[in-house]
């Protein structure tokens, strides 16, 4: 087909479509919404997956996280009132040594001990998470310094009484001054502030294996300082109503770094087998059946998140595809009506020399123009999805916000979703809408071409 002829057919189709603007518009709506929902749903899926991916990368794709868990069977026995005893569980120094010395792919080990304590600067107080760790903690959690410095090996060796404040902690405790060099009180002892970290958005929980973390209210100190000064040995004693309960945990968490560089695939391949070895090793050290630790592999979470996203995409895609099919049926219906309505025109054209395939071409082009235009409008609407989400969020924040908690469930729902329009979905959606035009336009066009010219001319 020559270009001029193609242009002629297209102009003819556009003319016919424009002749009944309302009808054409309504016919297109089905495709518009179908395409729009395909793009929007893929965008939501894409946004969710990129967020999950970002979180996992923050945890470190080549990291293995081993956490201490309070074993369930011993929790029940601690419920006996009036008794005081020491509950020992979790990761020990022996675990740490065995793992770091006997498993070759493990290059770095960062132990963490956490406590919740009140931190005070004069009249300003904050219930903070006190994190005892090593200098590597900074890098491993992708934290950045805003002022001063982070903990150093020297701090660790000397069990120095120094702390690094997280962004919000510093804001609360030192609303007006520079905290670096100033003291804070924790459990009646003074510690010198040596640095403040940068603001860091809280990470959301992933699939229940890892709870969300808000790094902004932390206080960091050398782990040995924490263990020696805030603990009685490893013992942590808490007074509850009528009884003392003592818990002995050496480390809450040990983060293991596998391989050497973060981005090479080789290292990633090592992660899951290494995690298996780590699990076996600790199980052997702790004895069978003592489930007081858990191994979390961010890479595994990434894979799970990916899998979930795929299922999510398929489900959403199918729903959208159904609406596209419904739109296609709508177009076919209208085109069949149009063929009946324009039977006489078909007869005239046939009498003046139009061949069957000219008629097929005319009606097929018209259907494709309808569905293709619908597709383009749908794509444009789809491109507005991210903006629309921002708009909904602003609206919810402004009018539906729950005053008591500072935000609303709806608002949080939308803020959790940051749709990203997948570029590949645009040509796909357009292609699908054109294909729908072809699929659902062929039958009406053939019906038009099959008409006997004499009968068609007689049609009123």
């Amino acid at each position: 087909m020559s270009f001029s002829r193609f242009l002629r057919t297209l102009t003819l189709a556009l003319k016919s479509v424009m002749l009944h603007k309302l009808r054409s518009g309504l016919t297109m709506l089905g495709i518009v919404f179908g395409v729009f929902s395909v793009i929007a749903m893929l965008a939501i899926g894409e946004g969710a997956s990129s967020q999950a991916q970002k979180q996992v990368l923050e945890l470190g794709a080549t990291n293995i996280i081993v956490r201490s868990i309070k074993p369930p069977d011993e929790t029940s026995s601690s419920g006996q009132s009036g008794q005081s005893f020491v509950l020992r569980y979790g990761l020990t120094r022996k675990d740490l040594n065995v793992i770091s010395e006997t498993i070759p792919p493990i290059l770095g080990v960062v132990p963490v001990r956490e406590l919740t304590q009140e931190v005070r600067n004069q009249q300003h107080t904050l219930n903070s998470r006190i994190v005892g760790s090593t200098p590597e903690y900074l890098e491993m959690n992708h934290l950045k310094m805003a002022q001063g410095r982070f903990l150093t090996d020297k701090d660790l060796d000397q069990m120095a009484n120094v702390v690094v404040l997280a962004y919000e902690t510093a804001q609360v405790l030192f609303p007006f001054d520079n905290p670096v060099g100033r003291p804070v009180q924790i459990a009646n002892r003074a510690y010198r502030v040596v640095g403040v970290t940068q603001d860091r958005t809280a990470s959301a929980a992933i699939g229940g294996s890892l709870s969300g973390q808000d790094y902004n209210k932390d206080v960091y100190m050398p782990i040995l300082t924490l263990q020696s000064r805030l603990n009685t040995g490893d013992l942590f004693i808490r007074r509850t109503q009528g009884s003392f309960s003592a818990v002995s945990v050496v480390y809450d968490q040990i983060t293991l770094k596998v391989g050497d560089t973060d981005e090479t695939t080789d290292d990633r391949d090592l992660v899951i087998p290494t995690a298996e070895v780590v699990r076996e090793t600790i199980r052997n050290l702790h004895g069978e059946g003592k489930n007081d630790f858990a191994v979390v592999v961010p890479l595994e979470l990434l894979k799970q998140a990916d899998q979930i996203r795929k299922i999510f995409n398929i489900v959403l895609g199918s729903i959208a595809a159904i609406s596209l099919i419904v739109g296609g049926i709508g177009i076919m219906n209208i085109m069949l009506a149009t063929v009946t309505e324009r039977t006489r025109e078909i007869g005239i054209r046939r009498a003046l020399g139009a061949r069957r395939r000219d008629i097929i071409q005319q009606f097929l082009t018209e259907t494709i123009v309808l569905s293709g235009t619908g597709g383009l409008i749908g794509i444009m609407m789809g491109l507005l999805t991210p903006a629309a989400f921002v708009g909904i969020q602003l609206f919810v924040d402004a009018y539906v916000m729950d005053k008591s908690t500072g935000t609303s469930d709806i608002g949080r729902l939308f803020s959790g979703m940051e749709p990203q329009v997948a570029v590949w979905s645009l040509p796909l959606a357009f292609g699908v809408s054109v294909a729908i035009g072809i699929i659902f336009g062929t039958y009406p066009a053939r019906a038009a071409a099959r008409l006997d010219p004499i009968e068609a001319l007689r049609h009123e």
Binding site: M1, S2, S4, R5, R8, K15, S16, L19, R344, E345, G347, I348, R349, R350, A351, L352, G353, A354, R355, R356, D358, P453, I454, L457
Partner: protein
């Protein structure tokens, strides 16, 4: 004079299942170039069937229809379309213009379906305007059919029939929907075209129309009953 069209023992039967309608039962006719024929006859006489065959809208059951030297009786649907496009100019009783098109666009329609689909050139467009002027529509090119009177619409149809320079112009009751004054105008145009040498076949009921042609064929019961104007 050479024969532009020749009908040899044409028959057309319609198989309606229960009955077979014998619409044409053996019609032979020679149409020389430049002929001006009126086909008359009461309804059911087979004149519409004959018209459909002459206009290459249908194929005969038996017999031959040789148009411009080619036998159309065995042609495929595609080839018949080509014949209609290049050899036949069609004028209908109810004008049959495409309502969403302007006068000029209506005249252009046969150009859209020329064999090989050549693009419509400025020369083609000038020819459309010339033809429109010829039938007295020069000032109405941008009008749409509903803005025109019946006579003007029929002029558009005549211009459209002329645009591909056909071998035969077929007119099916061209004045059936017009008043007598307009009928006079339209018939004058057709007569002028015949005087220029065009072959014209008119199917009509009206004696006044038939009288203006040079040859009248009377149909009855699927056969040519005779030539000349028959009363009633």
């Amino acid at each position: 004079m050479t024969a532009v069209a020749r009908l040899v023992d044409l028959t057309k039967f319609y198989d309606l299942g229960a009955v077979v309608v014998k619409a044409l039962r053996g019609v032979s006719l020679e149409i020389p170039e430049g002929d001006y024929i009126a086909i008359m006859g009461s309804s059911g006489s087979g004149k519409s069937t004959l018209l459909n065959l002459l206009a290459a809208l249908d194929r005969p059951t038996q017999g031959q229809y040789i148009l411009n030297g080619r036998d159309t009786s065995q042609m495929s649907d595609n080839d018949l379309s080509v014949v209609r496009n290049s050899d036949i100019g069609f004028i209908f009783q109810s004008f049959n213009l495409i309502t969403q098109y302007t006068v000029l666009e209506n005249i252009e329609v046969p150009l859209l379906y020329r064999p090989g689909y050549p693009p419509i050139t400025a020369r083609d467009r000038n020819r459309c305007i010339d033809v429109a002027n010829q039938v007295g529509l020069g000032d109405r090119l941008d009008h749409r059919p509903f803005q025109l009177s019946g006579g003007q619409q029929q002029r558009v149809a005549i211009a459209r029939a002329l645009i591909n320079d056909p071998a035969i112009i077929m007119a099916d009751e061209p004045t059936g929907n017009l008043d007598s004054k307009t009928e006079e105008e339209i018939m004058q145009i057709l007569t002028d075209l015949n005087n220029e040498g065009r072959t014209i076949i008119i199917v009509t009921h009206e004696k006044s129309v038939a009288q203006r042609t040079s040859r009248q064929i009377y149909m009855k019961d699927g056969l040519i009953a005779g030539e000349g104007i028959f009363p009633g």
